[in-house]
Amino acid sequence: MSRKLSLGLAVNEALHIAMETDPDVILMGEDVAGGGLREGDGIDEMGGVLGTTRGLVKSFPDRVLDTPISEMGIVGTAVGAAMTGMRPVVELMFIDFLGTCLDPLLNQAAKLRYMLGGKARIPLTVRTVTGAGMQAAAQHSQSLYWMTAGIPGLKTVIPSNPADAKGLLLAAIRDDNPVIFCEAKLVLGATGEVPEGDYEVPIGKANLVREGSDVSLIGFGGTVPICLKAAKQLADEGIDADVLDLRSLSPLDEEAILTTLAKTGRVVIVDESTPRSSVASDVAALCVDQGFDSLQTPVRRVTAPHSPVPFSRPLEQAYLPTAARVIEAVRSQG
């Protein structure tokens, strides 16, 4: 059985299941309860700034921890707790705040197992919101998954739909490695069928969401709907696109990328982040490096420009990748 849920509600359901099935799972973050334990007439919890964690504090009052605004302390504490037997899920409200808690991820969570010769496990999940589209300006709109994806020892996943969100989050929480779980603003409110019950979507496996044979459109998170929209319009022109949803940025499903490339000979990668050192560049390099013999045209990347995210609405709209830009990129391949 399945029913329609938003991506946020699918995440909420996964958190409930994870906490029910494992007493070591704890949830930490700013306002994850948000007033929920306060006695008084008509007072209720907020369940996070976007309401994603609503209801959890009532079900698990001892395991849902409202923290002070202390990202360095929150993430660092979670790493220590993970190392010693807990399975923490931290909410980092927006990935932009990575700047305030980078060390516990970069130098601790990512490297402890290696530095201790394989004797430590860090089963930590950091849930965070990524991307532009809400006029939230330069410090609340970044797509910084390229940073975490570039750090050995961390895994980074980003679902494009509610069903994957639920399964990927359950897999992330149960993974013994630190996983960064990205919720892209562009798809956070989108609804889709979500299976009931407990299931996992494996980390490191891409998903072919549309089959075609003329061009491979590769996206993830918020850019998958953009690829699908472009594919639909291209179909009207007689160009049939494969659409690959990466789902996992590290590890990267290289096999799936090279398979679609071998099939179509033509690749366009659509990434919401800035272009330098990006996932788009990473995938493009893979195609050229490992798939050169299959390539019939240049590889194209559709990304944001190398600049911060502007506040003004028309500028923000032009900043983001669109189906029109994807189609233009396909045409430019000749």
Partner: protein, 326 residues
């Protein structure tokens, strides 16, 4: 009290402008005419204006996500602010920053900030500049009780105290960080006690009372300006609206909010005080109310009529070019 009638009227005008500005923004966002994350300062006017009444052109201010009040108090042009919030080319940051980055460096307003606590070290750096360049200026960091839980706060206070920087740290304790009551996440009642660990002077003011904030700031700045080092000033206050426009406010009781709004409004307090002491005429205040409304109406009209920035602006201002001004 050393304030002239003109200064009192100016302080009232600023507080009224902040209140009216924020009410206008609330309406505009709710009506879908303005976008972005919008954090309103209504209720906390006495803090920004009480502090900034002591400041001049040489002094700097670093602010927070709740920054419109600090801008207005520091003298940033209301029309340019309104245009910024509408994302127009005529905005104080060409429409590229919006509410959370509203600023005017020429006025010594170093910016609102989207990162909680990030303004505190910036203000500390501005105080370092003031000291090294002997400008005679002071630097003020405004921030919330929530921000005082960031490492940036503790690291900055330690450095400033150690270097005896001319910095004033103003914590606006409104009892909440977003939706979480402060007492849930902080084991001390007064944020001011945190100064003790840095051998720093601290003061507590009634943030709903302009005159108390003004007086305590005077004492604090005398200390800073005479080379004795930084001060932590805690102002107890309350935000009248939600954390952001659209906040359903389920986490606080209506009675609690109504009590502050009905009985402790800083504008009402100010008016009562100045009229009782016959410092100004009630007609002056009502005239200012009207002028503020007219100025705001004009600012909204001008902003709505102004053009959006050209798309080429997306990639400008990312880097400085050699030889080019700021």
């Amino acid at each position: 009290m050393d304030l002239t009638r003109e200064q009192l009227l100016e302080a009232y005008r600023k507080m009224r402008m902040i209140r009216a500005f924020e009410e206008k923004l609330g309406d505009l966002v709710t009506a879908g005419k303005m976008g972005g994350f919008m954090h309103l300062y209504a209720g906390e006017e006495a803090v920004a204006v009480g502090v900034c009444t002591h400041l001049g052109q040489v002094d700097t201010v670093a602010s927070t996500h709740r920054g419109h009040g600090h801008c207005i108090a520091k003298g940033v042009d209301v029309s340019a602010m309104m245009a910024e919030l509408f994302g127009r080319a005529t905005g104080c940051s060409k429409g590229k920053g919006g509410s959370m980055h509203i600023a005017d460096v020429d006025k010594g307003m170093l910016g609102a900030n989207g990162i909680v606590g990030a303004g505190i070290p910036l203000a500390t750096g501005a105080a370092l500049t003031a000291k090294l360049k002997k400008t005679g200026g002071v630097s003020v960091a405004f921030f919330g009780d929530g921000a005082s839980n960031q490492g940036a706060f503790h690291e900055s206070l330690n450095m400033a105290a150690n270097w005896k920087l001319p910095a004033l740290y103003v914590v606006e304790n409104n009892g909440f960080g977003e939706f979480t009551p402060t007492e849930f996440v902080v084991p001390v009642k007064d944020i001011a006690v945190r100064a003790t660990s840095y051998a720093m002077k601290s003061l507590i003011a009634d943030g709903m009372d302009f005159f108390d904030v003004y007086e305590k700031t005077g004492e604090a700045l005398e200390h800073c300006r005479s080379g004795q080092g930084p001060v932590l000033l805690e102002c107890k206050t309350y935000r009248f609206a939600g954390h952001f426009v659209g906040d359903p406010l389920v986490y606080r009781s209506k009675e609690e909010a109504e009590d502050w709004i009905q009985n402790r409004d800083p504008l009402d307090n100010f008016e009562e005080h100045v009229l009782e002491a016959s410092l100004v005429d009630v007609d002056d205040l009502r005239r200012i109310d009207l002028e503020v409304q007219e100025e705001l109406t004009a600012a909204v009209e001008a902003a709505e009529a102004a053009p959006f920035p050209g798309l080429e602006e997306i990639t400008t201002d990312v880097y400085c070019t050699a030889g080019e001004g700021a």
